[in-house]
Symmetry: C2
Subunit: 142 residues, 2 copies
Amino acid sequence: MFSRACEYGLRAALYLASLKHNGYVSIREIGERLNISVPFLTKIFQKLTQAGLMQSLRGPSGGVMFARSPEEITLFDVIVAIDGPDLFTECVLGLPGCGEAAPCPLHDHWKEVRTPIRDLFASTTLADMARRIQEARLRLTA
Amino acid sequence: MFSRACEYGLRAALYLASLKHNGYVSIREIGERLNISVPFLTKIFQKLTQAGLMQSLRGPSGGVMFARSPEEITLFDVIVAIDGPDLFTECVLGLPGCGEAAPCPLHDHWKEVRTPIRDLFASTTLADMARRIQEARLRLTA
DNA sequence: CCGTTTTAGGATAAATGTATCTCTAAGCCG
DNA sequence: CGGCTTAGAGATACATTTATCCTAAAACGG
C-alpha cells in the first residue's frame, strides 16, 4: 500500500503530534523511540520540511517541529509529501491515460473505493489521531 | 497499490477472459497483444499456474488457459496469487502484530476501508469483467 | 572563535523488484 | 527419431527502493 518511507513518516508524524511538548524534537530521539533508522528518517523529514509540513532547526536544541498546527495537517498531506499522489490518481492497472474518456475495465469499480480511501485520509488530521493515541494508549512501535 | 507484476497479471487474466476462444493461448501472443515483456509475463503465469488458477501446455498449440471457469475466479484470487495477501492482512503502518488486541492508531479507520476493497475484488469474477469489456469495448492496453 | 550538536545534501551500499538470458523439459509434426 | 515450438526454472542484468556514510552548513555554548 504505502512505501516503507511513508509508513515511517506517518508513524513519526503521529508520534510528534501525540507529544504534549511543542518545540523542536531531534530526529535521533524520534528514530530511537520508534525503532526507525535515524539516517533514513532524516531523509524522510527532509521531504516533509520541503513540502512545508515541518520546519527544522540545526544545532543543539534543534530538531523538527510542525510548520502549522496538527489540526491543519491531514494524513493525506503526509502521504502525498512522501509517496506522491499516484495512489490517488493513477490507474489501478497502470494504464497511462486511463480516465473517464478511455477507462480500463476496473476504472468504475475502483473509483468507488478509491474515493472513500482518499476521503478518509484527507479528513483525518494529525490532531485527531493524537487524541485517539492518548485516549486509547495506541502504539506506534512494535 | 499493486506491483507491476500484479498489474500485468490482472490485464492478462482479463484479456484471456474476454476472448470467446477457450483453449490454450500462447504467452507470446498475450504479451505482444498487451505490450508486456514476454519473459516477465511468463514468470507471472508460472505463479498463476502454481496457484491453480491456470493450466499450461508446452509445445506447438500449447500455452495457458484457465484451470477453472472464469465465473469461479475472482480478481482477489489473481492478486493474492501474485502479490500475496499482505495488502489485505498487514498493518497499514507496517507494525508487526497489529490487530484488535494491540491496534495501531490507524487500525480502526483502515479496517473500515480495507474491507470494502477486499469485498470488491473478492466479489468480482473474471467473467463479470469479461462481460463489461465486451459490452463497453474497454481497453486493456495503452 | 572554536568545538559540539544537529539537520542538509550528495555519494555510496545493500535489498528488493523488474526484466532478460540460457538451458531444460514437454509436446507436436514430419 | 529429429527438428521445431512452447512453458518451466535457474542464473544473470538493470532499476528502484531502502539504508548508510561522509562532508558540509547552521546553531549553540564554552
